[in-house]
C-alpha cells in the first residue's frame, strides 16, 4: 500500500505518473522549422480523455485530420478511437473501451445511425472531411466506411460489410471492400479509395457508384508502369492480418498518387491518358537520393502521402524514420524531418535534426504547421510554421 501512497504523493508533487515521461509544460516555441510534441506522452496506452494534450496517451497514432477552421481529430489506431482535439484536450468522438465493429445492435447500419461513442471500431485509419460538413471514417479492419456527423455525433455505415471484393458498377453502400486504408476526394464529389487487401484503387463517384480504376484485384506484384492503370499491379501488405499499408491522394494536377508500400514506390496515375508511372522510388527498399530525381531515390515502406500547400508531396518514409518531400515541379526528393536514426529527440530544435520513429506520414496543420504522425513514439509532433505560417 505504501507504494501506492508514495506514487500518489509524487503525482501530486510533480504532475507525472510513475512510468510517464515528463510532460513539457512550456508551450513549444521557436523559429519556423522547429519541431515540438503536440500530443502524446510517448507511452503507449489510453489514459482516458480530458487530459491536456501533452499528458494524453496515444497508441500508434496513424493519422490526423485538421480542418481549415482549426478543428482537429486524431486517428488513435491501437486505441481503436477517433479523438477530437477540443480546448486543448482529447475527446473520443467515435469508439469505445471495447474493440469491435459497430454498436452492439448495429444501429449504425441505417439512418439515423448510432452515437459515435457507442460504435466499436477495429483499427481506424483515416477521417476525411466531406463537402457537406460530415467526415468519412475509413474503418480499416471493419472493412467499411462510416460517415460521422459532427453536428449530431451520429455514425452511419456508408460502404462495405463483410470483407470481399464486390459491387463494382453498383452502389458503394452495397459493395464489399477489404481493409480499405485511405480515401481521397477528387474535388468533384467523388473519392478514390485505397482498397488494401484487394490490391486496387477504387473510385466512388459523386452519385455513389463504385468502380475499380487501378490495380489487379486480389493480385499483388509490380507491373504496369507506362501502361493502363487497370493492367498494373500494386503491392500492399497482404495476408489475413496485414499491417496497414498503401495510401492514395490527389495532386493539385488532378492526378491520382498511390503510395505503393511494398514496392517502395510512389506511383502516379493519369486517368485521362490511362497511364501509370513511378515518380519516387527505385523499387529497392533503402535510403538514398536526396537532392536528386525521385525515380533515382530510394524509400523504405512508404506510407501516407499528402500534398502540402507548397505543392510538394510529403511521404511517410516509415522504415527510414524520415519524412521525405518530392517536388513535382523539379522531380527532386529531399528529407524534411528525421535524422533516420529511430528514436525520440530534438523537440525545440530543427525538424531535420530530430529523431522520429516509424512515422506513418504527415498531416497539414493549421497556421502553416506540418504535423508529423510519429507513430512508434506514440506522439503527434508539430513543425512550427513549416509552410510559412499565415
Amino acid at each position: 500500500m505504501w507504494t501506492r501512497l508514495l506514487c500518489g504523493l509524487l503525482l501530486m508533487g510533480l504532475g507525472v505518473g510513475c512510468s510517464a515521461e515528463p510532460a513539457a509544460e512550456a508551450p513549444c516555441d521557436g523559429p519556423a522549422g522547429t519541431i515540438c510534441t503536440w500530443i502524446g506522452t510517448g507511452d503507449a496506452g489510453f489514459d482516458g480523455d480530458g487530459n491536456p494534450l501533452l499528458q494524453s496517451q496515444l497508441y500508434w497514432p496513424i493519422d490526423a485530420t485538421i480542418r481549415e477552421d482549426g478543428r482537429a481529430w486524431v486517428l488513435d489506431w491501437n486505441n481503436h478511437r477517433v479523438r477530437a482535439v477540443i480546448d486543448g484536450k482529447l475527446q473520443t468522438v467515435i469508439g469505445t473501451d471495447e474493440l469491435g465493429d459497430g454498436p452492439p445492435k448495429q444501429e449504425d447500419l441505417k439512418e439515423p445511425g448510432a452515437d459515435g461513442t457507442t460504435v466499436n471500431l477495429n483499427h481506424p485509419t483515416q477521417f476525411v472531411p466531406q463537402a457537406d460538413g460530415t467526415l468519412m471514417l475509413v474503418a480499416w479492419h471493419n472493412h467499411k466506411l462510416r460517415r460521422y456527423d459532427p453536428a449530431t455525433g451520429k455514425v452511419v455505415v456508408a460502404c462495405g460489410g463483410a470483407p470481399g471484393f464486390k459491387g463494382d458498377g453498383g452502389s458503394a453502400h452495397d459493395a464489399q471492400v477489404d481493409q480499405p486504408q485511405a480515401m481521397a476526394p477528387d474535388g468533384k464529389g467523388g473519392h478514390y479509395l485505397l482498397d488494401q487487401r484487394n490490391q486496387v484503387v477504387r473510385y466512388i463517384d459523386a452519385q455513389g457508384i463504385i468502380s475499380t480504376i487501378a490495380g489487379t484485384p486480389k493480385s499483388d506484384g509490380y507491373a504496369g508502369d507506362g501502361g493502363d492503370p487497370l493492367a498494373a499491379k500494386f503491392s500492399f501488405p497482404k495476408g489475413s492480418n496485414p499491417p496497414p499499408g498503401g495510401w492514395v491522394t490527389v495532386g493539385p494536377d488532378g492526378h491520382v498518387y498511390v503510395s505503393d508500400t511494398l514496392n517502395h514506390r510512389i506511383r502516379r496515375i493519369d486517368l485521362a491518358q490511362k497511364k501509370i508511372e513511378t515518380v519516387v522510388g527505385t523499387g529497392t527498399p533503402g535510403y538514398g537520393g536526396d537532392g536528386g530525381q525521385g525515380t533515382a531515390a530510394q524509400v523504405n515502406n512508404p506510407r501516407k502521402i499528402v500534398f502540402g500547400p507548397d505543392g510538394k508531396l510529403y511521404i511517410g518514409d516509415e522504415y527510414n524514420n524520415r519524412i521525405r518531400a518530392w517536388d513535382p515541379a523539379t522531380g527532386v526528393v529531399t528529407t524534411v524531418v528525421g535524422t533516420g536514426e529511430k528514436g525520440f529527440s530534438g523537440d525545440g530544435g530543427p525538424a531535420a535534426e530530430a529523431q522520429i520513429y516509424r512515422p506513418a506520414g504527415v498531416a497539414i496543420g493549421a497556421d502553416g504547421d506540418l504535423i508529423v504522425i510519429d507513430s512508434y513514439n506514440h506522439r503527434l509532433r508539430r513543425v512550427i510554421g513549416f509552410f510559412g505560417g499565415k
Binding site: T3, C18, S19, G45, F46, Q57, Q106, N142, Q176, S240
Partner: protein, 425 residues
C-alpha cells in the same frame, strides 16, 4: 530521465522506486483480492518493469507453465508476456505489430489478438493465435515458434486430415487430454476439434463436415438475415468450394445436444469479423471437457464418452439467440442459476469449477455438489475497486479469464480494468 532521477532520489531512502515490484497488498488472508499485474490503465508499459508497474491492455487470460511462471495474454498489445523469477516483465511472443504469426523466433513473430496459452505434455507452450486462426507451438528452451494447426485462413476444413493443413476459425483455447491429444475450441466454427497422436484433426463437439441443415437455427454475419442473398448456403466443407470463396458461411449455431452425444450438440460462440473472444475450455482429470458456451449463457460439459450436458446456467429450452442471460441463483443448483456471457472456465484441485461470468463482472464457482456461488466481484456491478479486501466485495470489469495458479490461488484476467487480479487461497 526524470523517472531515473526519481528512482535515484528515492533509492537511498526507500530502496525501491515506483517501477520496482512491490506487493502492495499485504493482507494475504484467504479470500483477499489483490492486483497481481497491471496499473489499471490501458497501455503497453515497459518490459523490465515489475508487474505492478507495467501496463496491460485488455488482458484475456493467463496460464501458469510447468516453470510456475504466469503467461499473460496481453490481448490488445498483441503479445504474450511473463513475469520472470526476478520480478521483471518480459515479452515471450510477439512484437506487437499485426501479422500472420509467421514461424521463426517467437519474440519476432507478429500476432493479432492472441487469446490463450496451454502447455503440451512435453512442456511446449501452445498458443491460440486467435485472430490469426492458427495454433502454434513455442519451444521455450530456444524461443522458436511454429504453427502446428491452421493455415491462417478462416473457415472449416480439413477434418480427417493433417492438422497442419486444416482450417480453423478463431481458435480461442486449447487443452490436452490424459492421452496427450490436443483439443481446440474452434470458436467461429462452433465446434471442438481434436488432434490425435498421428497429427490428424477431427470434430468432437458439433456436427462433422457432412453437416448441411438449412432448417437449423442460424445467424448471418454483419446484420444480414437468414434468407438474405448474403447468407448463401455453402456446404460445410466449403473451404474447398470455390463458389463459396468469400461468402458468409452457415454456422451450426444453436443450443442442443444436452443428454445426447456430441455430434448433435450445438453451441453459440461468436463469429464473423467483429466477433469477440468466447467459448474457452478446461479439462478435468477424467477427461471431461468444460466449455464456456458464451452465447447460450451456460457452461456445458462433455464427458469422455461424448455425452453432453449443462453444468451451470439456464435459459430457454431451445435456442434463442435473443436470450441475453442474467444473474441469479447463488446458493442453489448451478443449473438453475443465470449467467451472462461466460467466457472461460477453470477447475480447482478440489473439483470446484470457476467461471469467468464476464458480463456479470464476476467470477462464479460451482462446488462439486453442484451449488453455485460468487467467488469474486459483485455480480451485476462493474468497477475497479476492492484490492486488499474480500474478493466478493471487490469490483471487476468484464473479466474474460480465470485460472488456478500454483498453491491454489485464483487468478482473474480483469480485462477492462487492464489488470490481472489474484484471490489468495
Amino acid at each position: 530521465m526524470r523517472k531515473q532521477l526519481l528512482t535515484l532520489a528515492l533509492g537511498g531512502v526507500l530502496a525501491t522506486g515506483c517501477t520496482d515490484t512491490v506487493d502492495d497488498c499485504a493482507d494475504r488472508t484467504s479470500g483477499t483480492i489483490c492486483t497481481f499485474m497491471g496499473t489499471g490503465k490501458a497501455g503497453l508499459g515497459h518490459d523490465g518493469d515489475g508487474p505492478l508497474a507495467v501496463q496491460l491492455y485488455m488482458p484475456q487470460d493467463l496460464t501458469f507453465g510447468p516453470d510456475e511462471q504466469p503467461y499473460i495474454l496481453d490481448w490488445n498489445n498483441h503479445r504474450v508476456r511473463t513475469v520472470d523469477p526476478d520480478g521483471s516483465v518480459r515479452t515471450v511472443i510477439g512484437t506487437g505489430e499485426l501479422g500472420d504469426a509467421p514461424d521463426g523466433v517467437a519474440t519476432e513473430t507478429r500476432l493479432n489478438h492472441p487469446t490463450h496459452v496451454s502447455f503440451a505434455p512435453d512442456g511446449a507452450l501452445i498458443l491460440s493465435a486467435w485472430h490469426n486462426s492458427k495454433v502454434a507451438r513455442v519451444d521455450l528452451t530456444n524461443g522458436s515458434i511454429k504453427t502446428i494447426c491452421g493455415t491462417g485462413g478462416r473457415s472449416y476444413f480439413g477434418d480427417g486430415g493433417p492438422a497442419h493443413d486444416a482450417v480453423l476459425d478463431l481458435p480461442v483455447a486449447t487443452v490436452f487430454d490424459s492421452q496427450g491429444r490436443m483439443i481446440i475450441a474452434d470458436q467461429g466454427n462452433q465446434r471442438l476439434r481434436r488432434v490425435d497422436h498421428e497429427g490428424n484433426i477431427d470434430t468432437i463437439f458439433g456436427p462433422d463436415k457432412t453437416w448441411l441443415d438449412a432448417s437449423q437455427a442460424w445467424v448471418c454475419p454483419d446484420g444480414a438475415s437468414p434468407g438474405d442473398m448474403a447468407c448463401k448456403v455453402c456446404k460445410a466443407a466449403e473451404a474447398s468450394d470455390a463458389a463459396c470463396e468469400g461468402q458468409p458461411r452457415m454456422r451450426p449455431v444453436g443450443f442442443a445436444g444436452d443428454g445426447a452425444s456430441a455430434p448433435e450438440a450445438r453451441m453459440f460462440t461468436y463469429f464473423s469479423q467483429a466477433a469477440a473472444p468466447a467459448g474457452r475450455i478446461a479439462i478435468g482429470p477424467d477427461d471431461t471437457i468444460y466449455l464456456a458456451d458464451t452465447g447460450n449463457h451456460r457452461i456445458r460439459k462433455m464427458t469422455k464418452d461424448g455425452t453432453v450436458s449443462t453444468v451451470a446456467g439456464s435459459g430457454p429450452a431451445s435456442f434463442d439467440k435473443e436470450y441475453a442471460g442474467g444473474y441469479g441463483g447463488d446458493g442453489g443448483p448451478a443449473t438453475a442459476a443465470k449467467l451472462k456471457q461466460p467466457r472461460d472456465v477453470a477447475l480447482g484441485a478440489d473439483g470446484t469449477l470457476y467461471i469467468a461470468d464476464t458480463d456479470n463482472h464476476c467470477i462464479r464457482a460451482v462446488a462439486p455438489d453442484g451449488t453455485i456461488r460468487t467467488a469474486a466481484g459483485v455480480c451485476g456491478s462493474k468497477g475497479d475497486a476492492g484490492d486488499g479486501g474480500p474478493a466478493t466485495a471487490a469490483l471487476l470489469d468484464r473479466p474474460h479469464g480465470v485460472e488456478i495458479g500454483p498453491g491454489g490461488a485464483l487468478y482473474i484476467a480483469d480485462t477492462q480494468n487492464h489488470r490481472i487480479r489474484i484471490v489468495h487461497p
